[in-house]
């Protein structure tokens, strides 16, 4: 994989996008482009309030989906966990 591309796999409780492996996408592409594709492919009705996280050697962190993979400091194969944020406690 060139440094101009990243491999992307999105995991949700509705399934994975792509179903197996990683999609190769430009590193300067906004993360939300792939999340929109995942939403359509997995037939997710509503993603309001969802957050995207990645797990790095330094730990898990939330990423800015309006920014590119490169702007988020991501490279190589990227496993994005996408789902609702923690519920509000009562």
């Amino acid at each position: 994989m060139s440094s101009e591309h990243v491999g992307v796999s999105v995991s949700t409780t509705a399934g994975f996008y792509p179903a197996e492996g990683f999609n190769q996408v430009p590193a300067n592409q906004r993360v939300e482009v792939d999340l929109d594709k995942a939403k359509d492919a997995l037939k997710i009705k509503d993603t309001t309030g969802w957050v995207a996280t990645v797990t790095l050697p330094s730990g898990k962190r939330e990423i800015n989906i309006a920014q590119s993979y490169r702007e988020n400091g991501l490279s190589g194969d990227v496993e994005i966990d996408w789902g609702p944020s923690e519920g509000g406690g009562g």
Partner: protein
Amino acid sequence: MHPAAAKELFERDVATLSPTLARRRHWIIHAVEFPTIDCSFTGDGRTPLRLRFMCNDWNDLPPSITLHSADGALLTAALSNPTGVFHPGPHPITNRFFICMRGSREYHTHPSHVNDPWEKLKGTSNYDLGGILTQVWRAWQKGRG
């Protein structure tokens, strides 16, 4: 909800709680068989938290969620967590620690929240079984120990 319809909805929701998802999220899925989901959250340096979702009458009712140690015993001490999701006191009906979060049966039957009905939430992506599991998991990740 007719039991057969509840079972069908349950099985549709849990069909994608796959071993791959569990591996990525460091969950241990002990059992998924209607009407129960038995799942542990694990993480580096964390004491695992095991949850049992009792999904009878899904999705006319939200799941009743109980909190357990790794061996399956009910928790006897409150979790340290800043989110408020893991209520430090007993539920007035079950007398157990409980998940105080929209989407848990204990939240919607608590006297403080009976004006926040489940009917407004059910059927939405955030409040299918995977969505509720994810919300509780993300709250657990905010804690320590």
